[in-house]
């Protein structure tokens, strides 16, 4: 790990400390019921950020195996949240069991052993063919195509896509690959935080009330621009030049927007507000990782194609 990484780590902890202090002051000041609720939610989010930074930072410091195991666990939680809300029938039971206990662990074993060839096709080719095949054994043809699609999308979003973040650890780029993972996570998550802050401070024009009622144009552009600026400043964590870092973080931020929108659209379709309840103030694991589902594969492929040695 470079000394620049220590500076980034100190900056994140400093940012959290400042956020906690602001939250504390706001809590003292808030009197109207509406603002009390907002401040309460804000403080819950900040508390959860401390825990998330601790867990993620701890895994990174423990090494690659710990990091891969952490992401396997997050995928498991996300897949569980996906299926808790998504309807399934008796005929899907075996396919779901295999998703959780065979496909997910095997995919992460392929990742852990850096078998890239099979890692990249195991879910989108083999799981996609095998799971509907298994579902035919029960003879239930009701909504078969839609049911197969749900089984496949569940794995695609929560296992395959998310796993491309720890898959960065397989890549040889000349810089420590754990720093690339830190870079991705910091840019994506701060993009969400900046969008929240800009939206709360200046947000007026709703972007897409049907899908994401709280997202505003001001939040999207202000938050996106702030995250791209930050991604550019953090270029020293990566093999990129500052200009390349600006381009790559633009891709990360835009893909992150769409990840958030797609996951929200699915959530609305299922009549749910949040995916789960495990992260106080944020909802579920999938509510926090929605932007990662789209940005991780793109970032992984950009790095693998242009920056590996």
């Amino acid at each position: 790990m470079t000394s620049f990484f220590s500076i980034v780590l100190a900056a994140i902890l400093g940012l959290l400390a400042v956020a906690s202090a602001i939250g504390f002051v706001l809590q003292r000041r808030a009197t109207e019921p509406g603002s009390v609720a907002t401040v309460h939610n804000l403080n819950a989010r900040i508390r959860s950020w401390w825990i998330m930074v601790g867990v993620f930072g701890g895994a990174i410091l423990l090494g690659d195996t710990a990091t891969v195991i952490l992401f396997a666990f997050l995928s498991f939680m996300a897949l569980r949240e996906f299926w808790t809300l998504t309807p399934s029938r008796r005929g899907d039971h075996l396919a779901l069991f295999l998703s959780f206990f065979v496909v997910l662990p095997l995919h992460y074993v392929l990742l852990g052993t850096a078998w890239y060839g099979l890692f990249s096709i195991f879910i989108p080719v083999y799981a996609f063919l095998i799971l509907p095949a298994v579902a035919t054994l029960t003879g239930d043809v009701n909504e078969f195509l839609a049911r197969s699609a749900r089984v496949q999308w569940g794995l695609m979003l929560t296992v395959y896509s998310i796993s491309h973040a720890p898959a960065l650890l397989m890549l040889q780029t000349g810089t420590p690959s754990a720093l690339l993972l830190v870079y991705l996570v910091v840019v994506v998550q701060l993009s969400d935080v900046f969008q929240y802050v800009w939206g709360k401070l200046l947000g007026k024009h709703r972007f897409s009330p049907n899908i994401s009622p709280s997202k505003t144009l001001e939040g999207l552009f202000g938050g996106g621009a702030s995250a791209i600026l930050l991604g550019t400043l953090l270029y020293r964590l990566t093999p990129f030049s500052p200009l390349q870092a600006a381009a790559v973080s633009t891709v990360i931020v835009v893909a992150g927007f769409f990840g958030g929108f797609v996951l929200s659209a699915i959530k609305r379709d299922l009549n749910a507000k949040d995916w789960g309840y495990v992260i106080e103030g944020h909802g579920g694991v999938l509510d926090r990782l929605d932007s990662i589902t789209f940005s991780a594969p793109l970032f992984f492929h950009i790095v693998r194609y242009w920056f590996t040695t």
Binding site: T84, S88, H93, F97, Y277
Partner: protein, 206 residues
């Protein structure tokens, strides 16, 4: 030792099926109550028990069928020691009262958990309730009957499968009801069943 096994069992269930609780019509309270829930899976009993806070759980006894939970030493141990269940006969001898052990617990001030559908139900519909809950309600008119709706359990462990899929289950606790003066059996059973069904889509918030 038994207490430790109980704690581990609850922890295991919370990890596997989530076993969240949502108190919509009442608050968790260790007073004597009759809890009743829909019945889809073998996990139902443990899911409700795991969703109850410790102070309530330790005074609550699920009612379980002897013909299933009494079949071997392991199941019997889980039921009687792990869950403090009371086993009853679903096909009792004539002139015997299968609910006698349940009534005895209520007389001692304990709470019980029953599944009035009688058997695990493999369709999405909640089956008509059997009359045991009416008899308990008449025998203990001053005890609150608390409806519980369990979601997803059929998808976690459907009838006829041994494979558990770790979907999260929520136990929703509704508004307590009692048998009204002069209320007929059929009317009461329909009302109790409706109280569980009402909780299915989130239900009314008290």
């Amino acid at each position: 030792m038994i207490a430790l096994i109980r704690r581990l069992l609850v922890l295991f269930v919370r990890i596997v099926v989530g076993a969240r609780s949502e108190w919509r019509g009442c608050t968790p309270d260790p007073t004597r109550r009759i809890y009743f829930a829909n019945h889809n899976s073998h996990v139902d009993t443990v899911a409700v028990m795991a969703a109850l806070p410790y102070q309530v759980r330790r005074l609550t006894h699920p009612v379980a069928a002897r013909d299933y939970w009494g079949t071997n030493a392991f199941l019997r141990f889980i039921a009687e020691k792990g869950l403090r269940a009371v086993l009853i006969d679903r096909k009792p001898l004539p002139d015997s009262n299968p609910l006698a052990p349940v009534e005895r617990l209520l007389e001692e001030g304990r709470s019980v958990l029953i599944f009035p559908e009688g058997t695990r139900n493999s369709s999405d519909e909640i089956a008509p309730f059997r009359s045991g809950i009416y008899r308990l309600a008449c025998r203990f008119p001053d005890v609150d009957l608390v409806p519980i709706h369990l979601d997803n359990l059929q998808r976690i462990l459907p009838k006829g499968s041994m494979l558990i899929v770790p979907i999260t289950c929520t136990a929703r606790f509704g508004k307590p009801l009692r048998v009204e003066a002069g209320e007929e059996k059929g009317a009461f059973l329909a009302r109790a069943r409706a109280a569980v069904i009402e909780l299915a889509d989130g239900g009314p918030v008290a």
